[in-house]
Amino acid sequence: MAKVKKAKIQKCALNLNTSAINTWCPGCPNFLILTSFKNALCNLIETGYKKEDFVMITDIGCNGKIYDYVDISGFNTLHGRTIPTCFGIKCGNPKLKVIGFMGDGGAYNEGLSHFVNAGRYNSDMTVIVHNNQLFSLTAGQTSNVTEKGFVEKTHPFGLKEKPLNPIVLALEAGATFVARVSALDVAEMERVMKEAIKHKGFSLVEVMQPCIVFHNFSDFLKTSSYKVHEMPREEAIQEAKKWNYSHEGKIGLGIFHRRTEKTFEEKNLDWKK
């Protein structure tokens, strides 16, 4: 099991658990993402958000299973289509607090054009990407953010292409809140998720989540990270370019950028009855 960075894990007074049997691999950092998310939600509800206003939209893959593990409204949608589903929900009822969960395959492969457009729209939603840099539920194929040289059954001679840099992409596309966190740091995940959900506009939280079966980069995460602080967009883009999704050098974690800008709903949906 990946070692959890020691931090106070606060107790949630509100029970957001479900009776579903959890089918993630024992020891998977997804459990930590789940804990952080429930804590973040609990905290937000305690400070005035309404539980019934939260909706979680989940993709296909291990991330999508979280749909069954949190006791709130939800829509487990298609592979790569979480973002347009979130967008539609906001158009249908702008009052809902919409949180999408996707894997790197859904966000950066199948749904890449939606990901880019989400930045452009600045629709008020939060997208949490479980980035294990691999398609894991289908038994370990490379995604658009797998490091060069990775060998698996469909790439027996190693991946020849370089990974995309989704943090740079999101910033370039106009995302107004961009963060990257480690799945091994529950307290920081909770803090950043809360900030992202509170943010008005499109917020991206990329969670670096080692797959303990097919792609375990836990040691790299634990030993080679540094904290980034919020900075203006252009600087954030330069900062994000410092790490290229290989497991070398240092990976910046934290909130890269946050700014206030009119949301899609404020610009387009002011007519709403």
Binding site: T18, A20, K50, E52, D53, V55, I57, I60, G64, K65, Y67, D68, D71, I72, S73, G74, F75, N76, T77, L78, R81, I83, P84, T85, C86, F87, G88, I89, K90, C91, G92, N93, K95, L96, S113, H114, N117, N268, L269, W271, K272
Partner: protein, 522 residues
């Protein structure tokens, strides 16, 4: 008596505008009018034309030959030669040796159209007041309005040397195209959200709805059709009454989401306007090639409503029914249109739709102390994903039961219509209706129009059994309606009895009569 006016010229000359003004103004006077629009995939130049068919009786098509030609360019006289007879009159704005032609000598600017329109009014001995009124409304506030009105006055005083008196009823007709009619059905259904990505010929509806959205509903074009379909289901999940629109390849991109509709049971209405395929095909022309994909597009098994209106009145009614059934049964309703019905003008006597009482949602996210969960994964009644045999069977069974209830309720709507008298039977759906109806006086045949392709009116078997020979008239190459009939009734229509056309152009009554004659029916 039917009188056909051909209006031809380059794209950008306002051919369609001129034809629309004529069709609508003549309709107001009391004529039945039909206005066919033909254009290629280009913005300016090329050759566009309309044919406006005017009559004192109901009309839903144009004829092979034309009586009056408004030729806005020289090419029109060349391209349409086959449509001309010895009696055809030509109005031109250039010097020509063409027999039976009148030279307008109008300014070659944007008011040229008004000179042509006025020529029609003068030749048909109609009061110019109707034209002036229409132009005043249509171009209110436009800089050229004053000159347009002067042009009408000036050319109305001109002697064209021809005059033709046509009969008409005295009650004004409403003239509109199928897309505008669908928009009226949509608005009557109290729409909340419409998503569509531009694609001919579905864009016409997008334009109408975008114009009408102020304060009542929201219209938006997201990044692609995949986003359109998934955002549509997202909006529906949020509780909004939602429609999405597309054509051909756009629908292909949506089919994964159509399949998700089946399992999530989120109400969704789809406007599918067909064009000539396969692939990019002939993008600005007509077809009925997407009947089967409208019924079956999407993996796995799920049922849906598919309605195919054949007139603006049916566009309004069937769209309203599509919303009703979608909302009541959590089902996918497809309004199957095509270029010909969406973009042709049809005339009819004014009627008032009594909108159906569409059920309101009982459960949606945001309701206090409640949760709403649904999934693309098979799920139990609480929305929990499942792979358990009993739960799979229960959920599937519930959807199958719902289909039965839907089928029962759909029977209260008009799912087919029978017209005319005769020993033989012509079956059709959608936009072929206009031309088929216009043949019935000349044929020993009834016309059976199928309005619901799903749930299919199986009771049409009785009409098949009581007819001597059964024919289909379809704008596709493989007789898709005949396949659907065979699937639902077991009756196989002989290949030689399939009258098919797949060149993108609509049937004319003469073509159908000729094809029927080849098959021994007169």
């Amino acid at each position: 008596m039917r009188f056909n006016i051909l209006i031809g010229g380059r794209a950008g000359q306002g051919i369609n505008e001129l034809a629309t003004i004529l069709a609508r103004t003549l309709g107001k006077i009391g004529f039945y009018t039909f206005n066919y629009r033909d254009y290629g995939s280009l913005i300016t130049g090329g050759h566009n034309f309309n044919i406006v068919c005017v009559s004192d009786k109901k009309v839903g098509s144009y004829d092979d030959n034309v009586d009056l030609v408004l030729s806005l360019d020289e090419k029109t006289l060349e391209i349409h030669k086959k449509r001309f007879t010895d009696k055809t009159i030509f109005v031109v704005n250039f010097q020509t040796n063409q027999k039976n032609s009148v030279y307008l000598a109008a300014d070659r600017d944007k008011t040229e159209n008004m000179a042509f329109a006025t020529a029609v009014f003068k030749i048909l001995e109609l009061d110019k007041k109707h034209l002036l009124d229409e132009v005043k409304i249509r171009f209110a506030g436009k800089s050229l309005l004053a000159k347009d009105l002067d042009v009408i006055d000036h050319f109305y005083d001109k002697d064209f040397g021809y005059s033709i008196k046509l009969n008409h009823e005295n009650t004004s007709k409403v003239v509109m195209n199928g897309a505008e009619a669908v928009s009226k059905g949509v608005i009557a259904s109290d729409l909340d959200v419409y998503f569509a990505y531009p694609m001919t010929p579905s864009t016409t509806l997008l334009n109408y709805l975008a114009k009408e959205q102020d304060g009542n509903f929201f219209v938006y074009s997201p990044e692609d059709e995949i986003a359109v379909a998934n955002a549509g289901l997202g909006a529906s999940f949020a509780g909004a009454r939602t429609m999405v629109g597309t054509s051909g390849g756009g629908f292909d991109l949506m089919t994964e989401a159509m399949s998700m509709q089946s399992i999530t049971e989120l109400p969704l209405v789809v406007y599918l306007a067909q064009r000539t395929g396969p692939s990019t095909g002939v993008p600005t022309y007509n077809s009925q090639q997407d009947l089967l994909v409208s019924l079956f597009g999407g993996h796995g098994e799920g049922s849906r409503v598919v309605v195919a209106p054949g007139s603006p009145k049916e566009c309004i009614e069937k769209t309203n029914e599509a919303f009703y059934l979608a909302e009541k049964y959590g089902i996918l309703s497809i309004v199957l249109s095509d270029k010909h019905i969406a973009e042709s003008d049809f005339s009819f006597n004014e009627f008032k739709l009594k909108p159906l009482n569409i059920p309101k949602r009982k459960l949606m996210p945001g309701m206090s102390n409640l949760k709403f969960r649904t999934s693309s994964y098979e799920h139990n009644s609480k929305g929990d994903n499942t792979e358990v045999i009993e739960e799979i069977n229960e959920s599937f069974g519930k959807r199958l039961d719902k289909d039965k209830a839907l089928e029962k309720e759909a029977k209260k709507f008009e799912r087919y219509k029978v017209y005319g008298k005769g020993k033989n039977l012509i079956i059709g759906f959608g936009s072929t209706k206009g031309a088929i109806l216009d043949t019935l006086d000349s044929l020993d045949a009834r016309f059976l129009q199928i309005l619901y392709l799903s749930p299919f009116p199986k009771e049409i078997s009785s009409f098949i059994k009581s007819s001597k020979n059964v024919f289909v008239v379809e704008a596709n190459a493989s007789g898709q309606l005949a396949k659907v009939i065979a699937m639902n009734t077991g009756f196989v229509i002989d290949d030689k009895n399939k009258i098919l056309k797949y060149d993108g152009r609509p049937f004319t009554p003469e073509e159908i009569i000729k094809e029927m004659a080849k098959r021994g029916v007169k």
